[in-house]
Symmetry: C2
Subunit: 183 residues, 2 copies
């Protein structure tokens, strides 16, 4: 079932996520699906669980060093540099419409952002301690800026993969991190 | 009708945009609406037209100067610093799910991004000519980075307005622009 949900999400997004579409992917009846998902919100919640599992379970880079190098690796793990990473991002960006329209789902996404920023925080704090970032840099603000740049680049790359091929995404990330660096 | 569509979008997003919801907002019958919108895509296309009109028609800052000051003003015009700007952003972010799932709508959004970046390009090029940005800065790359930071901050602020009040959004923008500045 999770596989069918993921296929529907990756092709049609949350707008195309219906019991009927998932049933068709499974070769099952819509009636069977209503047993698991009494309403649309239950289906969306399951879809977000599937997306969370896939995101958590994906292969990640092992950074060669701490600080900025580790931050760079963590951000490269997010960017749509491969078809799989593009699908993952397409699903998350697609989830924002429904999440912004539902208080529970919005809270869930807000907490997801909190966890992501907390993970980045470790790298930013280490980078500052190592002198790679200015001692005057506010860690929380730097993390918010880095997260902003990364997700904003994700969206542009999803809509215009020709203009934002993987090489350019990497160059933009490196130039951005260099701009933050201590000089 | 545009007003009803906008109210539905701002409260429930594209996930909640149905003929029935728009008809209810108008106090009209769903049957009347099907006369204007033969299918869901026609309704979405109209919703995007409404969003475009509202975005184009909004009041904008008149920058005190060219270059970085004008770039800053253009980006402040985008950020969700007021309830009205938050609604506008909520609608655009919400449109991405449906746009990513439909080639025509994806193309429309890609061209919208092109136009936005072209407008920012003027300010970035002027900032470089004035020496506010390094002579070595690539204008297209800088524009993509600036657009990325701004939209990524929009999304974080929509999900967590308490953590990203207007003052903090302005501070983050100013610190970000300062990091790009010639030193």
């Amino acid at each position: 079932m999770s596989e069918a949900v993921w296929r529907v999400l990756s092709e049609r997004g949350f707008a195309g996520l219906t019991l009927r579409a998932v049933a068709a992917e499974m070769g099952a009846s819509t009636g069977l699906l209503t047993h698991y998902f009494p309403n649309k919100k239950a289906l969306i919640a399951h879809a977000l669980d599937v997306a969370d599992e896939r995101t958590e379970g994906r292969a990640r880079r092992v950074p060669s060093d701490e600080g900025l190098a580790a931050l760079r690796a963590a951000l490269l793990d997010v960017l749509p540099l491969t078809p799989g990473a593009a699908v993952m991002n397409r699903v998350w960006v697609g989830s924002w419409d429904g999440s912004l329209g539902d208080p529970d789902l919005a809270d869930r996404e807000r907490r997801r952002y909190d966890r992501w920023r907390a993970r980045l925080c470790v790298h930013v704090a280490a980078a500052r301690d190592r002198g790679e970032l200015p001692a005057s840099a506010d860690v929380d603000d730097t993390v918010a800026t880095v997260a902003a740049f990364t997700h904003g680049l994700v969206v542009q790359a999803l809509f215009d993969p020709d203009r934002f091929p993987p090489d350019r995404q990497r160059t933009l990330l490196d130039d951005f991190l260099n701009a933050l660096r201590t000089r």
